[in-house]
């Protein structure tokens, strides 16, 4: 149930369908759907949401924007693509409002200020740019946590390999003595 609603959320966000990333670094990619400036903006936004830090590489290294671009380029419907494009325009407008310049010309600190404003009602988004944040973030999280960097370096997932014993505790560690447990 939980997995199901999560999937649905992601789908609404990005019509999550995509092909493998082939480029070495996302900034060198020739985007399939977005214009180069749009793509660069998306790349920067995803990196602000999931940055490289002391623990692991972030969204740029995991080619999150490349995945999203491929997804949207082959999406069956045009609407999610256009909504994403409009969302990026809303981000630029917000940057003009806060910083008096387009998002890509703003300083790193100013860009974070824009994302902070977008995220301020994350639990209950009202303005279009706030809705866009929840979509962008769900799509970013999906692409990042399904990437090799996300699964291995960030999360340190231990499975998908042969195990000789099951990990965890024996049920006998918590013995049960019920009054009606003898037949």
């Amino acid at each position: 149930m939980e997995g199901h609603s999560r999937r649905e959320l992601i789908k609404i966000a990005a019509a999550a369908v995509a092909a493998p990333a082939i480029a070495a670094a996302s900034v060198e990619v020739k985007p399939l759907f977005f214009t180069p400036p749009e793509f660069q903006m998306l790349d920067e936004l995803t990196e602000i949401i999931i940055p490289t830090d002391g623990h692991s590489p972030g969204a740029k290294a995991a080619k999150v924007a490349v995945y999203m671009d491929k997804s949207l380029s082959e999406a069956f419907e045009d609407e999610p693509r256009q909504k994403f494009r409009e969302g990026l325009k809303l981000v630029d407008s917000l940057s003009h409002e806060l910083n008096h310049k387009p998002f890509l010309e703003a300083s790193p600190k100013q860009r974070v200020a824009v994302v902070s404003r977008m995220a301020q009602n994350e639990k209950n988004p009202k303005k279009p740019v706030e809705h866009f944040f929840t979509q962008l973030k769900a799509a970013t999280a999906f692409a990042y946590y399904t990437s090799s960097i996300g699964i291995h370096q960030e999360m340190g997932y231990l499975g998908n390999t042969l195990q000789t014993v099951y990990a965890g505790h024996d049920a006998s560690e918590a013995p049960i003595h019920l009054p009606d447990s003898s037949k």
């Binding site: 999280a141 997932y157 024996d170």
Partner: protein
């Protein structure tokens, strides 16, 4: 492990087989296995295709190695919860998508099961809202099942004697227990002995282990007289010496991506567990792409003569003949087939003199559940928590010794906790930046959740019938649903949410969210009861050996025979009953009584 794909079919339709089995899932697979291993010549007809499981099942594929990270190609659309709730079937009608599939495709890695589940465009149905999941391929839904393998008890078989509602089964636990044992030993089951009269133990192989949070919940619930037990999985955890097509479980992880099947077949599926061994006897012929649309009748005796089927590739129709016809096409498809099989001897559909075929339709209600946080586990080092076939099952506790004031029968919970390959909390954690990453990381292993499965009472008016106006891709009239949850189910569902919260609170687990909503009818994929067994031919369709009261050489060995749903998952019971009935009919065949 040998290649599990069987060779192509060589079917001689001039032959009169000992038995024709319709459907190759848990029920049909078991019938085919039991009869062919006793020397009977069996023709197994499967409506769907033969999948190459060596290519189809990719249990160890990393999401990033899949071109769409497990998603289906553009143009495939899985039905969502809202679509089932706001619209009426047929759900794919007028859809702009070329392919529409059931909600199971919304689970983790839907691309892995897109060839297993039917395309709703080819398989419409009408009537009331119902999330009907069908798998037309060799093995049917056993290719994607949840693997919870539970026994029923006399609390279920004799439920009417306890609370007065409905009908008792014509068998008791003692009748079926030896067959549960046979199924356990032949197919393998993992579990931990608890000695509960209302959830009998099986002959268990190595149990799965519990996470720290599950162990804590188990201890606390014991004080309330309730039992959380390691997931009883229809999975061989120690291996099966007699089956060369299946490996033991290696707890590799990502078992929650079960919609993709288990590529080493440690988890039971009918093709490797039953059908391949049956073929090795030399007595079984499997013919896929064979949609049976009618049970044919001998004009003199009125007995079943065989079946008519459509080759789904060529569109040509054929008749196959046998001494016995065994339906295992699934609860709803077997009922559909019986109702479609009208003749002068059986004007109401074959085996339907009682007018009970399609009626008393029941299942499990789902939806209410809980998600909680075990604070002690936040920030703890990583553990492997999904490297096991399942997590835990919380056995029924209502209406055993107690008597609830506003509902009868009971419910159990299936749950899980801890880390998974893709952290679910990433989609619920607020914020962004390094602090967001850290929160996702620190909390990923600290959540525990569970959802309830409750008994839906059989009611005559809950039924399916034939809709003569709508036909499927092959021109066969489809089912029309007239089915909805009743008052008992709704009150039980309200109690599920209350009790879930009470239990988490008692265990000191922080409640993150409580879900009170009921999912659309059908969600549990546990359809039961449309051709129930009973001793009275006026109020039941089958006898205790799943033999038609009207037509002695017709058996219905799937979930349609169940008299009531209980709250335990039905697959193990379907197989134990099918084994028992096929033992009986093989005896009858040998004696010349059929």
């Amino acid at each position: 492990m040998q290649n599990p794909n069987p060779p192509g079919p060589q079917v001689d339709l001039k032959n009169v087989y000992d038995a024709i089995v319709v459907g190759s899932g848990a029920a049909g697979g078991m019938a085919a296995y039991v009869l062919s291993s006793q020397g009977m010549k069996v023709l197994l007809l499967e409506a769907g295709k033969q999948l190459d499981t060596t290519k189809e099942l990719k249990s160890l594929e990393w999401p990033y190695d899949h071109p769409r990270r497990g998603e289906m190609p553009p143009g495939y659309h899985p039905l969502g919860m809202n679509e089932y709730n706001v619209r009426n079937p047929p759900y794919a009608k007028d859809s702009k998508y070329p392919h529409v599939e059931s909600y199971v495709q919304g689970w983790n890695g839907p691309d892995y099961s897109k060839n297993i589940v039917v395309d709703e465009k080819d398989h419409p149905y009408t009537g009331t809202k119902y999330a009907w999941v069908r798998a037309r391929c060799v093995g049917g839904k056993t290719n994607i099942w949840g693997r919870l393998a539970l026994r029923l008890s006399d609390y279920d078989f004799k439920a009417k004697s306890r609370d007065g509602y409905g009908e008792d089964w014509p068998i008791s636990y003692a009748d079926i227990a030896p067959y549960y044992d046979k199924v356990d030993l032949y197919l393998g089951i993992s579990g931990y002995k608890e000695n509960l009269p209302y959830l009998p133990d099986g002959l268990f192989q190595r149990p799965v282990k519990l996470t720290a949070s599950e162990l804590k919940l188990r201890s606390e619930l014991a004080k309330m007289g309730r039992v959380l037990t390691p997931y009883r999985a229809g999975v061989t955890t120690d291996g099966l010496k007699h089956n060369k097509y299946r490996s033991k479980c290696f707890g590799r992880g990502a078992c929650d991506r079960r919609a993709g099947g288990c590529d080493i077949h440690a988890a039971f599926d009918s093709p490797t567990g039953l059908i391949r061994p049956a073929m090795d006897t030399g007595n079984l012929t499997l013919r896929p792409n064979s949609t049976v649309y009618e049970v044919t009748v001998d004009p003199v005796s009125g007995k079943a003569r065989g079946v008519n089927f459509i080759d789904t590739d060529s569109g040509k129709t054929y008749e196959a003949r046998a001494k016995v016809v065994i339906l295992g096409a699934s609860t709803l498809e077997s009922a559909r087939l019986m109702m479609l099989s009208k003749s002068s001897q059986h004007p109401n559909g074959i085996g339907n003199s009682s007018n009970h075929v399609g009626h008393n339709f029941c299942e499990h209600i789902m939806g209410p559940g809980i998600n909680g946080l075990v604070k002690d586990l936040v920030g703890k080092p990583r553990t492997l928590d999904d490297g096991r076939p399942g997590s835990f099952y919380l056995a029924r506790f209502r209406n055993l010794k107690d008597k609830q004031s506003n509902f009868i029968r009971g419910y159990g919970f299936e749950g899980s906790s801890g880390t998974t390959m893709i952290p679910g909390n990433a989609f619920e954690t607020l914020g962004f930046g390094s602090s967001y990453k850290k929160a996702v990381r620190d909390y990923a292993g600290a959540y525990i959740s569970m959802g309830a499965f409750g008994e839906v009472l059989p009611r005559y008016e809950n039924a399916v019938s034939i809709d003569p106006d709508v036909k499927d891709k092959w021109g066969v009239p489809v089912l029309r649903f007239n089915y909805s949850f009743g008052d008992n189910e709704k009150k039980m569902a309200a109690d599920m949410a209350v009790s879930a919260k009470e239990m988490f609170e008692a265990a000191g687990i922080e409640v993150v969210s409580v879900n009170r909503e009921i999912l659309t009818e059908g969600w549990s994929i546990h359809e039961l009861g449309t051709a129930r067994m009973g001793n009275d031919p006026k109020t039941s369709v089958l006898n205790q050996f799943q033999q038609s009261h009207d037509v002695k050489n017709l058996l219905v060995v799937d979930g349609s025979s169940h008299v009531s749903a209980s709250c335990q998952n039905p697959t193990w019971t379907i197989m134990a009953l099918a084994w028992r009935s096929c033992d009986h009919i093989a005896d009858e065949l040998r004696k010349g009584n059929v």
